[in-house]
Each structure stands twice: as structure tokens, then as C-alpha cells.
Symmetry: C2
Subunit: 406 residues, 2 copies
């Protein structure tokens, strides 16, 4: 017997299940492995032997799963113990995989997961156990090194761009519209926030101001900019990352909660949007300020996915299987942009340890000098990633989805 296993880790995305479907369908075609197992709830599920067999899933179910958001195999927040202090969990994992005749292990996740792939790969080699460890990238944050972008990002970016456009229109219907603040995810990097630049109406970018965490937030410039634009057109549309920090490296959202308690004595989590709202009111610009946090809608809206993203997520799953058969281990599948216009991409491998625990920031050269918008180069990079919309399974009323972790 020669089997393989796949598991998902970290936060969900709209397309993480597409990667699993890609791997399973490729194996169904080439019959490289007798069984494709899945660990439910990531590493934690495998340690608990909570394992299912995906080999005989019907084509219809697999296809529905392919277009289902969330982590349909379940995920985990479980951190393995420090390898150098106690490698017992790594050894246990290898034993379980070995007992299942697993010859390849695939982990779909972010930079934490790549750390796991790297360490397991090294340990297997050291112990001369013939199991290949391959990482499959996944994160809406787009913050993994070496890969041009991450599966999951394009769909989140498309949802952000579309919602920016639609809420922009919604926020301009009156004669005095005040200020609208859209708060996006992206605690460490500004990729998601930047995607709002793709919202265009009458040939003009919809957001007036876009603030990324890569630029220290300057209160004085902010007040100046909002005042000026509000005076000019009685409307200001602002997009802000949840991860904005001031020049002291303090999260604005942390400042906002200071001293603020509700009637139970709990700290109120104000968020960046409410922090900026308070600044605007405090500085007498206007009292009409609306804040919208997109929250988890950014990572689960398969109904508005990017077709390019869903297809690439599928492809990295397919190629992960092929790379394992070529004998690679301890590596992550990455995406190379072969061409921007027309857009084309392919995959390649990077050592998982190079990706592990590192962060790819939004380039400073793609932020304008004033730190309140992005440049045309950013648009050129972002735009191809939100092309098209995938045809998810629908009964004409709502989407029809399928998961394996319930």
C-alpha cells in the first residue's frame, strides 16, 4: 500500500478546499496513491487519529467541495511543542503516518504550517523514513515570501474591491454624505486594504484615502487630508487596515480600547475604524461618520470569488501531488507570474524553511509619498488576480456547499 494524507491549517479562505480537490482529482486520474486520507482539524486531528478517506468521494461531492468556502476538512489552532526541547509530537506524527502507509503528507496553510512541513521533512530524512512533506500555500493575507501571491488572496481582494465600490455608491446618495470608513483585515500587511484601489466608478478610483500598516499613521496628515476632501465634496471615502500603527509602533485599535469599558466592565474592542471616526468627530470635521468592518466576509465569500484564484488554488493542489512523486520534500509549492498581460502563472518549489515564520510586506515603492494611497504599479500587480468569477454550485436560491468536518 502507498497512501498520502492532506490536512488544512490556520484561518479559512474561500478557496482552500479547491487545493484539496485538485490533489484528490489528480490522484483519481493518475492513481499514484491507493488512498488519499485527510486529517480533520489539521495536525491536531492526525494526532487524535481523526482521519477520513477521500478516495471514494463522488465526483459531484468533490466538485461541490471544490467551490465551498471555509476549511472543509476542519482546521486547528494547535501549536506543536518546540522541536528542540521536545520532538515527541513530531515523532508521534511520523509514527501515525507510517502506520497508515503514508508516503506523502500535504499541509495547506500559511507560514506556521510551512514551519511544520520544514521540521517534519528534516526529521523524516534524519530518521530515514520515506515520507515526503509538501506545503500548499493558503492565506488571504498574501504575506508569504517567494510566491508571487497566495491562493485565497485574489478572492478576498475581489470581495474587497466590489464591496468598496458598492458601499462607495451607497455612501454618496445625499447632498452631505459625511465620511465612510471601510475597515479591512490585514493585521501585519496592507495587501487586502490595497485591493480597494480596484474599485472604480466613471473611470476614477472610488476610495479617496487608503491607509496600509506599512506606513506609520500620522494623525496630523490624516486630519488635514480628511478636512480638505470633506470641504471639497462633502464626502470622504476611507479604507483602513485593521493593523494601522502610529509612529510608536502601537496599534490604533489598542489605543482605542484604552479606558473604554462597557456596562459589564469589559473592554470595548473599538477597532481602527472607530478610532478614526473619533478623530474626525473630535477635530470637528463632521459628525456624520459611518464605519463598516468587513470581517470574515472577506475570507469566506465564495459567491464572489476570483476565478483566477480558484483555479490557481486547484493547480497548487494538483502540482503538490506531482512534486511529491518527483521525490521533493520539505518544500512549499509557490506561484510564479509568467506574464501580467495576458496574465499567466505556473508553479515552482521553495524550501519550506525559507517561507516559515517570515512575512512579505506590501512594497513601500507602491505606496504614494503622502502614505494615503497606492500607486499604479500596485494596480497592475493586483488587477489580474481578481479576474473572473468561479461558478459555484447553486440551487438558484443560495449556494450549495459541502464540507467534511461536520
Amino acid at each position: 500500500m502507498m497512501n498520502c494524507i492532506i490536512a488544512q491549517s490556520g484561518g479559512p479562505t474561500a478557496v482552500i478546499n479547491a487545493s484539496v480537490a485538485g490533489l484528490v482529482e489528480t490522484n483519481n486520474k493518475i492513481k499514484a496513491f491507493d488512498n488519499v486520507y485527510a486529517g480533520l482539524n489539521g495536525i491536531q486531528g492526525i494526532l487524535n487519529k481523526n482521519i477520513i478517506n477521500l478516495t471514494n468521494i463522488s465526483h459531484d461531492d468533490l466538485n461541490t467541495f471544490r467551490y465551498t468556502p471555509s476549511s472543509g476538512l476542519g482546521s486547528c489552532r494547535y501549536k506543536l511543542k518546540d522541536y528542540k526541547i521536545d520532538d515527541s509530537e513530531y515523532v508521534k506524527l511520523l509514527d501515525i503516518l507510517d502506520s497508515l502507509d503514508v508516503k506523502a503528507f500535504f499541509y495547506v496553510g500559511g507560514n506556521d504550517s510551512m514551519d511544520t512541513i520544514s521540521k517534519l521533512g528534516a526529521l523524516a530524512e534524519e530518521k530515514e523514513i520515506d515520507i515526503k512533506f509538501i506545503g500548499i500555500p493558503k492565506t488571504i493575507d498574501n504575506d508569504l515570501m517567494y510566491t508571487d501571491h497566495t491562493p485565497g488572496f485574489g478572492s478576498a481582494a475581489k470581495f474587497i474591491a466590489t464591496s468598496t465600490l458598492e458601499t462607495y455608491l451607497d455612501s454618496t446618495v445625499y447632498m452631505d454624505n459625511g465620511v465612510f470608513i471601510l475597515e479591512t483585515m490585514g493585521r501585519d500587511t496592507g495587501w487586502l486594504t490595497a485591493a480597494s484601489c480596484l474599485a472604480v466608478i466613471d473611470g476614477k478610483q472610488a476610495p479617496d484615502l487608503i491607509y496600509l500598516p506599512e506606513t506609520a499613521f500620522d494623525e496630523k496628515s490624516f486630519i488635514e487630508d480628511v478636512s480638505r476632501i470633506y470641504k471639497e465634496k462633502k464626502h470622504v471615502y476611507i479604507v483602513a487596515s485593521e493593523g494601522l500603527k502610529n509612529s510608536d509602533d502601537t496599534f490604533l485599535s489598542a489605543i482605542n480600547t484604552k479606558g473604554s469599558h462597557d456596562n459589564f466592565g469589559h473592554t470595548q474592542l473599538g477597532g481602527v475604524g472607530n478610532y478614526l471616526k473619533n478623530l474626525i468627530i473630535e477635530n470637528n470635521i463632521t459628525t456624520r461618520v459611518k464605519v463598516l468592518e468587513l470581517g470574515v466576509l472577506q475570507r469566506c465569500s465564495m459567491h464572489l470569488s476570483s476565478k483566477v484564484d480558484v483555479e490557481e488554488a486547484y493547480t497548487v493542489g494538483c502540482d503538490a501531488l506531482k512534486y511529491s512523486l518527483e521525490g521533493h520534500s520539505g518544500k512549499m509549492v509557490a506561484i510564479k507570474r509568467d506574464s501580467s498581460n495576458p496574465y499567466a502563472s505556473s508553479t515552482f518549489l521553495v524550501p519550506a524553511k525559507n517561507v516559515a515564520n517570515k512575512v512579505k510586506y506590501f512594497p513601500n515603492k507602491w505606496i504614494n509619498e503622502r502614505g494615503n494611497n497606492v500607486t499604479d504599479e500596485a494596480i497592475e500587480y493586483l488587477k489580474p488576480l481578481i479576474f473572473g468569477t468561479a461558478d459555484y454550485n447553486s440551487n438558484n436560491y443560495t449556494p450549495v456547499y459541502k464540507v467534511f468536518n461536520n
Copy 2:
């Protein structure tokens, strides 16, 4: 010359522009009026003579506008002075309309707008001025009397149902998932909140608990229900209306803000979701509680509109024109459900004064006995209204929209 004029009022919806397009295109076909004017920013715009001509808008622009969310003619929050104390603004409006050779006035709005239609119609009759006044219904809240439902509701309901399903999946990926609270609009009525019942996974309704403002919120039952479900499956999915009140008729969102101030001394607007979150934490059920407010996304997401809704919004515009030509005035176009399966509807007229300033509540008989869910009759009523998705204009990256109020 024989002209007509149309204007929009109140909050935006995804489909309010479809009603305007329906009226303009019908006139383009039957040439009943020489010009179709539009007042920008509602009554306020007409009083300021801020008026455009829609007669020669290109077919392409009109079609793009048809599938554009928001109020593309602008809206207003302007309240006319009390008719009995001072009818000068009503008289001024009639004079402006008369000077433009306007023979029919169409107002797309909610129950406030129907009050305006009713009063203008009565005054014109009294003064023997030959202008017909027709109301076109619009509100995501679905709270207008006599009409089976309101244009705008179906698309908001579809967005809520889909987002409920997608965030439900997003909130179930871990082994211990805690509680997820989705806060919907609907300050006075529960129609929007109820639409979450249409989210189905594996043949089962996704939300565990649905709370409408028509039922007084009972803290004890809430804690019991959340505790029981959390113990059973380590996950509770709750949908709550922003308008929940306790048995004293106090908004929960108002209680939540009491005594809670941020570092500027502003009251923090906690909302219902955060109120429920605090209750759950306070009662030691779990500290893992996530709150998501859908906010204005509910009313502007044309990218996920209901096809039935967009078509009916168009039809009420077409029929408003026809009814005015038949000599009706002081009336609102309403929707009659001719059949639920297969779904079919037609329009009829109701006196605008019967609709004005009244509210249609979600029927108590469609709420379960415990007050924490809706019945099958509610599903039968709601489901046909979210059928299909309209093909909005898109460049494959983002939607392409067109408004006239910028």
C-alpha cells in the same frame, strides 16, 4: 408639452434604480411623455430645481444604471413642513412641476414618501391642477402595508441568506468554535433577520437561533438556549436584529452604550451583537464570541441581487407609468403574489395614505413558540423572493456601475 418627473427618497437599495429604468424604458417605447425628468436628491432637489432629463440617456447607460445599487438619482433626508401648519413647500413643489409641464410625478420610496404622495395628490386635486402622483415602493425592510413585499427586500434577503451560510461555514472550522453572532438591519421589523433561515447546509438550517424585534428579548431563555447548544456541539450560530428590545421596550443596543465611553468621552455604539456577546461572556458560556454586523452591505450588494427582486423593481416602475396614464393619483403601486409555486406576481394600486406612516410587522404566527426561530410558513413566504441572480454589468474584474447624482 407633456412631461413627467421621477425622484428617489430614503435609504438606498440594490434595485431602486431598476424602477427608474423601468419607467424610462416604458416611456421610450410608448412615448407617452415628451420628457422624463429626474429630481436629484428627491424632493429637496426638485425644490432647488436640481433637475436632469433622462429622455435621451443612451440605452447602454440606462441598462447599466438599471443594475446599479444605491440611489443613482440621489436621495434626501429632507422632511417637508407639516402640511396643516404650513403648506407653502407643497404649493412651491406644485408650481415648479407645473412650470415644467409635468403631468405625472413618481416618488420611489418608503412609507414617508407615500405620505408625501398622498398629500401632494390631495392638494393637486383641491387646486384642480392636472398632475398625477404615484408612489413606487422601495425598502429593504419589507415593512410597507398591503404590498406582499417591497422591491429591495429580496436582494437584501438573498445577501443575508448567502452571507449567513458562508459565515456559518467559516465559524465551524475548529474543534471548539465558540459563538458567532450575525447582526442584521431591521430596526422595527424582523423580515431581514428572518431571511437568514434560508441558509441551509446538508439539508439543515444553518442558524441555531434567530431573534426578531417582534418578540421581546428574554435574557433567561437566551442564556439557556445558548448554553444548551454550546454544550452539545461547541458551536452556536445566532442571528439577531439590530432592533431587539427587552420586555420594557428598551433597545438592547441602547442598554449596551450606557456608561460606556471611549477615550474621547464619546459613547461607544455597541450594537445588539456586542450586547449579546457580553451576556454570553458574563454568563461564563464561552469567551470565544465573534460578532459581525452586515451593515450597509445588505442594501447595496447588487453583485448578489435576487433576479425576482430586480425584475419586480423594474416592473413597478413600468406599471407606475401606465397607472398614471389611466388617470390614477395619490396611490402606490403594490405587489400581489399570484402564486407561490411556481412563483408569480402582478401589481395593483393602494391609496398612498393607507401605506403612509404605517409599519407591516413580521407575523407572530411565523415565529416559533420559544421566540428563537421562524416557522416553515416563513420559509415558504421568503424563498421565492430570493430566486435567481441578475446579470449586472461587469468588466470581469469588478462590476461596472452608472449613477446620475455625482
